[in-house]
Symmetry: C2
Subunit: 340 residues, 2 copies
Amino acid sequence: MGKGITIEDVASAAGVSRQTVSRVMNQSPRVSPEARTRVEQAIAALGYVPSLAARSMAGGRSRLLLAVFESPSPETQATLGLDRLLPAGTLACSPHGYRLLLEPIAPESAPAASDAQLAATIGAVQPDGAILLPPLDSRADLRAALESRKVPVQTLHGTGAPVENPGEAAAQHLLDRGHRQIGFITGPSDPGHAEYCLAGYRSALARKGSRAHRHFVAEDRPDLGDVLDLARAWLVPTIRPTAIITMRSEAALAVLHVAQALKLAVPRDLSLIALEDDPALARSHPPVAALHDPAPDRFAAACTRMITALENRDAPRSDPPVSAITLTERASLARAPRAI
Amino acid sequence: MGKGITIEDVASAAGVSRQTVSRVMNQSPRVSPEARTRVEQAIAALGYVPSLAARSMAGGRSRLLLAVFESPSPETQATLGLDRLLPAGTLACSPHGYRLLLEPIAPESAPAASDAQLAATIGAVQPDGAILLPPLDSRADLRAALESRKVPVQTLHGTGAPVENPGEAAAQHLLDRGHRQIGFITGPSDPGHAEYCLAGYRSALARKGSRAHRHFVAEDRPDLGDVLDLARAWLVPTIRPTAIITMRSEAALAVLHVAQALKLAVPRDLSLIALEDDPALARSHPPVAALHDPAPDRFAAACTRMITALENRDAPRSDPPVSAITLTERASLARAPRAI
DNA sequence: ATGAAAGCGCTAACAT
DNA sequence: ATGTTAGCGCTTTCAT
């Protein structure tokens, strides 16, 4: 059932020509209200859905967008979060009749290899556009491979705001609340990303003249005991951080535990922020604040930008900026207890 | 560049008709070796890639497979692992000229709603098949919606082996090594899944006559202190588990820490298995064994099964079974120290 | 073994 | 505002 319903069926059911049906589907203004209604009813009655392939052939627009992402290598456990990205993007596309097509790129692939791969995909599906997902958005070779073949490219940080640094953002939040002795515990997962966040933290503190980053910076260790020891080493002395930033959520939980064992009240004596959110953070006592990267929303926004750019090839558009990072405030945050 | 190369271009470059080119692409045996070679060279020289849309229209096969998955709701943080699934599936499809198309289904969506959604997708792209990803593989309504429209369905557990229960598998591994006093710490994330694993653990122990599941079963808590307390409560007494299974990797690390603080050697005095793998487990001291769900491989296998079933509509196939769960053995495992 | 003819379902040009 | 005429790039079916 529902098989083989074509524009022709709709046309005869509505008593018009295929063209009129086509015009209705394509929102052409040159259709009389009556005709439009009859066509719409016929479409609904028959459950007609136009064939993407046929529209692609005839109209030259495939309504397919490439979602180009880096396929995780076994060791690079760095979770891209496709679980939440892809539904968001799909949802943004479908009301416009567009669809996403996956294009995984092997990490550190040679430019020639990925160029060939993209060439094959472009030839086969002729996508109307491509979204370069991080960390691929910085690969000039991919962008060139796409654009040289007339495939427009978008990234998550459209034309607007520059990328925010999570380490810097977290530090800034704490500085704004009066904290100066702010500790930072990196995550062991992705060395490059850890360095990046750490640098952001450092520059934020340096701007405010704090020297905490000389004393309270440590590397996260996989052994829980090491993290607990570290937390104790920082929190037992009189001169101690009034706030600590951790990259991993688990480290934040470990610090919280040590603080409570030492009778330090969170957040009164110590504020906590994790750079990575996790359900466990929301359920701990007290819940721990975390930075939240609205990547799914930014991906959806990128898809929408792409589509509107495609549809009105002329009209100048102003892309509403999307904030890159937000803080999920939870009870682990308070103003600095006093000046030290 | 590379734009607009059609079968016609290849045909004239090779000095043959379009049909011959088509036959070469479709592996038809009715082509002379010389002609085939000339065509293949022309294809390579021109960088020709056949248009999916055109093939779909003319041949009635879209070479598109639907990857139907449950889109995570805000609270259902249950990570499906699309990050690793999709590249694996894509890789399995591409050598055959097939592609994956995403179809997210809202969790607990009404059957009528998802039926309409699938109908729209099927009408638009006319997929040659669909893979129902867990936990959607048990939704009879989705399967019906697909199959009633002549779209063949596959799931991760092909025709072969039944689904293994992670809790049961882990318990069985330990029982095989002589353990009887085996503890189990559930995870707080997905209640249904936790119950399921716990039941598997219970039945495995019951089969061997162990009664440990009466004493050493506990619920995981988000607060680290609670988990540490629990581990101490189990490990301090003389009658204690010789092995512990945890659902969350963090809980395993916490138990490991307590054991070491109590001067219990892992794995000599205590074996540890997590039901969820994580890079941190491999880096701890000692590394902690974990169950590993080869879902990416099973997804790739499902795609391959689908494609071969599609290509040889006649030949009877025997699907090689794929093991559902494997144990990543690490230094946290040893035989039971003694009978208690 | 190869070619010629006839579409697949739709849209872009032209008509009218 | 609507209908008509050509294709889009392939695969089918039927000739040769």
